[in-house]
Amino acid sequence: MTHKEIREQILHLVALYAKEKFTESNFISGESIVRYAGRVFDEKELINLVDSSLDFWLTTGPHAEAFENEFAEYLGADDSILVNSGSSANLVAISSLTSPKLLDRKLRPGDEVITVAAGFPTTLAPIVQNQLIPVFIDIELGSYNAIPENIEKAISKKTKAIFLPHTLGNPFDITATVDIATKYKLWLVEDNCDALGSKFRHKFTGTFGDISTVSFYPAHHITMGEGGSIVTDNQDLAHIARSLRDWGRDCYCASGEDNTCGIRFTQQFGRLPIGYDHKFVYSHIGYNLKLTDMQAAVGRAQLGKLPGFIEKRKENFRLLYEGLKIHETNLILPTATPESDPSWFGFIITVRADQSFTRNDLVKFLNDNKIHTRNFFSGNLLRQPAFMNIEHRISGNLINTDFIMNNTFFIGVYPGIGENEIKYVVEKFNEFLLKQ
């Protein structure tokens, strides 16, 4: 047999294996777990994974390059830069803004970045890691996003950037935020990790700011296991982000390519001699945040399914909303930002003030009934051990942030669940709430 024939046979067997091993059993009320998130895949992902492993490329390679192209094309963006997680994407995005290549627009230690305390720790961490000062603003209940009035009030002479998440898939008011960023000449970074596929005025989130980030962790809209991406239309930021991802090197030749710029041995950098090989010139103190080509191969199969996944998330959200709206006197249900079309990450719920039960009572009941829940990430990040002593400024107050820390949680809308699961979830909410 030739290696091509052997490969075909292997992939044929992989398809059979995937169907045999991973075909999901039917949902049984009270017995099956209703997860808040999960991987949704079939034989296509496994075939891509094994196929790329047979190439034995291992490091970032042709599948990663193809994914970057296909992903940027899907979003209508100029560039996508794959990294090994959404958190790494956040780190690279913020670090990119500190590059000396940006001259007088670069962020310097002590510059302020407006963000929220109601979010994920690795939205905040890169601000602190780059010696920038986070300025926290409160969020709105229902949308769980920062509101433009609070952003504008928070601006000081030191403010240089805005870094906000589209909370659990719900876009923040992008038009107003872009206007503020433009008016005050601030960088706008969109943390789009939880909002892949969401739209604002018919355009994908993650394509409005100077730079944005996406996560491909299994709980997210598509997955590569570990994985993330930076997205930008700004060629300079794309170049800097790639440099930071790839050890800080200045050269952008792909692996196995040399002197594509035509000036490999004629330039002068830093205090290096003229003509020092550009392949080994480092213009940033960088990282190695690349992922493997096998992960990217899985991502390509997932990307093909993304439009279907988005629709399923929206449908699940709609069914949950329909089922739970009778409880609006007890619960604050999620509200989509006007002019947006969210690709929801989860169904976020807040127990209203002065109820006879607590968030934890409800969450415990749901978990006892095999319905997974998650708190709204870290609550108020400033109350977390890692962040309680960081240098920061608060603009206004964080009353709602504290409120969601105590009263908010979310349940799943991911494409791995369907009508039966949602019917069961609604029944359990009814069972709990109608007793109160």
Binding site: D78, D79, Q235, G262, I263
Partner: protein, 243 residues
């Protein structure tokens, strides 16, 4: 700075051949391509298999403005084996691979400055990209002057476009120098080769000006030398420093 190059399959959708086999190609690309006016691409005739390295390729300046129509235009002057192979093999419908963008020559810093563009032969390509970009986006600059040297009038292949630039781009002027023959209907042309010393002396008095050079290496070297002699700071003279 340039964006990371993207490898893209393209189909030749239009070919126009001029004297001396100088050929203009329009390529329709599979994906949208990002580039800035002034940048170049690598073109490979052999198929690219992502599992292997990029095949033999040559670099060509892009002659059109960035667009969302998946269109790339290049102009080639066959000089060696590869470019002659292009002339022989490329037909409408031929599939090729390109990767782009490359190059540090760009027009990022031209706002509020006078711009002098000196081109020899197919070296006009990056300037066409820039001028077409200005036209497309209705951008005005203080003064833009093109000095363009060709061997004979039939090689002034963008004469219609130069006329259009004159009409539509405020402050645009050009001077064409032709080595051989002066028969040209649309444009007024000067006889002879680009008079480097005269031009350098004339253009060095234009105040806050950026000087872009594109063409044969000898032309670039000579102009650079003359401009420096005329007192122009080296950082105001821009060209692609291809090794």
């Amino acid at each position: 700075m340039a964006a990371a190059p993207r490898k893209v399959k393209a189909v030749v959708s239009y070919i126009k051949q001029f004297e001396e086999n100088i050929t203009y190609y329009t390529l329709h690309t599979e994906l949208n391509c990002r580039f800035k006016p002034g940048q170049f691409l690598h073109l490979a005739l052999d198929p690219y298999d992502a599992s292997y390295n990029w095949p033999e390729s040559r670099a060509f300046s892009i002659a059109n403005a960035p667009n969302s129509d998946k269109i790339i235009e290049i102009l080639i002057s066959p000089k060696g084996k590869f470019t002659n192979r292009m002339i022989r093999e490329l037909r409408i419908g031929s599939e090729i691979w390109i990767k782009l963008p490359y190059g540090t020559l760009n027009f990022d810093a031209v706002a509020n400055k006078n711009v002098v563009l000196v081109a020899g032969g197919t070296g006009i390509s990056p300037f066409l990209s820039f001028l077409r970009y200005l036209l497309q986006n209705e951008i005005c600059h203080n003064e833009i002057t093109v000095y363009y040297g060709v061997r004979n009038p039939n090689l002034i292949i963008f004469n219609e476009l130069l006329k259009e630039f004159t009409q539509k781009i405020k402050g645009f002027t050009y001077e064409i120098y032709c080595e051989n023959d002066l028969q040209e209907e649309l444009l007024s042309i000067h006889p002879g080769i680009l008079p480097v010393t005269d031009i350098a002396r004339k253009i060095s008095t234009k105040g806050d000006t950026l000087y872009y050079l594109s063409g044969p290496k000898i032309m670039i070297e000579t102009f650079k030398e003359e401009l420096v002699k005329a007192g122009i700071p080296g950082n105001q003279v821009l060209y692609d420093k291809w090794e």
